[in-house]
């Protein structure tokens, strides 16, 4: 049936129309709300069409890794649970959850948006750990882009808890100190169906795509993460076109962060 679906989509795309009526480069309507979870140090709820997810940031204090004693750490986790999609199962993260988490992780980590040295409290002994948990409530495709945007929005308004003399956090008392982000990395996933490049793919579009590429970019167009998905190859020309589209779309999304 995927072949039939693909053929159907191609017919549609020839006329510049997607199955849901969107333009090829059109993102579904997005809403972003931060500060939605009182128990998190930073949080954001994003809706994109019918997709709905909450990203929360919890700050912990731990021991730095021995090979980087003067840096804090960051950890990204995606919880793809059955509430959001009847096809998800409870249990340890599956392939999709792992890919979503790791791509968003690299997007933020490699962009150096967070100053890891700034997270160090006592070199070799104590440093902040930034935990980012991505929790979809209603899954309607494109988790990486939506999760990545929400994660950046949540991080930007994360406030560090007060610490006592033993560096233990008091979660009921937030300090005025924020997690400063030096840039805003935005992942954008592009799929290629036939000769057409589509932005913000639905699950159906992802499935029949000839190729899929997620590109995370910064304000100045620098690329800080790449993930090619799916088993179909892409050409160098495809690559350049996809990058350009991702950077341009990234700018539009970044503007929504305000």
């Amino acid at each position: 049936m995927d072949d039939a679906l693909k053929e159907h989509m191609n017919e549609s795309l020839k006329k510049g129309v997607r199955m849901d009526g969107r333009q090829l480069t059109e993102f579904r309507p997005i809403t972003i709300r931060t500060g939605v979870v009182a128990t998190a140090e930073g949080s954001c709820q994003v809706t994109c069409g019918e997709s709905n997810m909450i990203v929360g940031v919890k700050m912990e204090v731990g021991t730095p890794y021995p090979d980087r004693p003067d840096k804090g750490t960051m950890m990204v986790n995606a919880e793809l649970r059955p509430i959001s999609n009847p096809e998800f199962e409870t249990g340890p993260p599956g392939d999709e959850a792992i890919e979503v988490a790791r791509v968003i992780d690299r997007s933020i980590r490699e962009s150096k948006a967070i100053d890891e040295k700034g997270l160090c409290l006592v070199p070799g002994e104590k440093a902040w750990i930034v935990n980012i948990d991505i929790c979809p409530l209603n899954h309607d495709g494109n988790l990486i882009d939506i999760g990545g945007l929400a994660a950046v929005a949540a991080l930007r308004e994360t406030r560090l808890p007060k610490l006592d003399e033993k560096y233990r956090p008091d979660y009921h008392e937030k300090s005025d100190e924020r997690l400063e982000l030096s840039c805003l990395p935005v992942p954008v996933t592009i799929v290629k169906i036939g000769e057409n490049l589509l932005v913000d793919p639905t699950d159906d579009e992802m499935r029949v795509a000839d190729a899929r590429l997620t590109v995370t970019s910064l304000e100045d167009g620098t690329i800080c993460a790449l993930q090619k998905g799916g088993s179909a190859p892409i050409t160098l020309e495809d690559l350049e076109r996809m990058i350009d589209l991702a950077v341009e779309t990234g700018k539009r999304l970044r503007a929504l962060l305000g």
Binding site: V36, V37, A38, T39, A40, S43, E50, N52, I54, G56, V57, K58, E60, N77, E79, R81, P82, I83, S84, N85, P86, T90, P92, N131, D133, C135, L137, N138, H139, D140, Y171, H172
Partner: protein, 244 residues
């Protein structure tokens, strides 16, 4: 009685502000949302649908299953490690027991109704919020239910019998504290969930539940309003606000 006035000035039988919604998760067959103070729960119902593995099927009626889960950032302190644990398993089980008495699954032999509840933030009363949201979701999914199930915790905080104790009251160190989650079928007064942390005398336990009775009815009204609003919003879009 050291605790005579609640720290947030609430009356003993007053709950924190509540919000109830239906239809919040479009992919699900039915969904509900319930927020009480800073405790928030989303519930989604999938089903009735085919039940696998087959040995779990009941040829006489459908099976109801619940799964309660706290999001990692929803705890009052440290991050909650994701995944099921003993607490969430127990809550899932008592939740299902709390909801089963009202739902009629006779029309669905061998099928299952799955209820998934996720909590983005908690501030005491989480299992009650979960049950309340789940009840909205079941009704939203069109299941036959003789009534809603409304749940709220009652308790005793250092001598004062209260409704809807929050985290601060629960974790108070002076005096005895009893935290008693209760789920009730409001039209009959029957109790479908009852647990307790703490210790309490029998008279106080009964009195605490009796004084909360009107609260269960109010919550059930809010649950029903949530469902009606989902349809009334459409009416209003088309015809403007109702005058009657």
């Amino acid at each position: 009685m050291a605790y005579t006035k609640r720290h947030d000035d609430r009356k003993p039988t007053e709950t924190r502000p509540i919000t109830a919604k239906a239809g919040v998760i479009p992919k699900a067959d039915g969904s509900g949302y319930f927020k009480i103070g800073n405790t928030e729960a989303y519930a989604a119902v999938y089903g009735p649908r085919e039940l696998h593995p087959r040995f779990m099927q009941d040829p006489k009626q459908g099976v109801l299953r619940c799964a309660y889960n706290m999001m990692p950032f929803s705890g009052q302190g440290d991050r909650v490690r994701p995944g099921t644990n003993r607490r969430s398993k127990e809550i899932s089980m008592v939740m299902a027991n709390a909801l089963r008495p009202v739902v009629d699954l006779d029309a669905y032999p061998n099928a299952v109704v799955d209820v998934f509840v996720e909590l983005p933030q908690t501030d005491a009363g989480s299992r009650c919020a979960a049950i309340t949201a789940a009840s909205i979701a079941l009704a939203d999914a069109g299941l036959k239910m003789k009534d809603m199930v409304a749940a709220v915790a009652v308790g005793e905080v250092d001598g004062l019998l209260v409704v809807d104790p929050d985290y601060k009251e629960e974790s108070q160190e002076e005096g005895d504290v009893a935290d008693i989650p209760v789920a009730m079928i409001p039209s009959t007064g029957e109790i479908t969930l009852l647990q307790m942390d703490g210790k309490v005398r029998k008279e106080d336990l009964l009195a605490a539940i009796v004084q909360a009775r009107p609260v269960f009815e109010r919550i059930a009204e809010a649950q029903r309003q949530a469902i009606k609003r989902r349809y009334e919003e459409v009416n209003e879009e088309i015809k403007g606000p109702r005058s009657r």
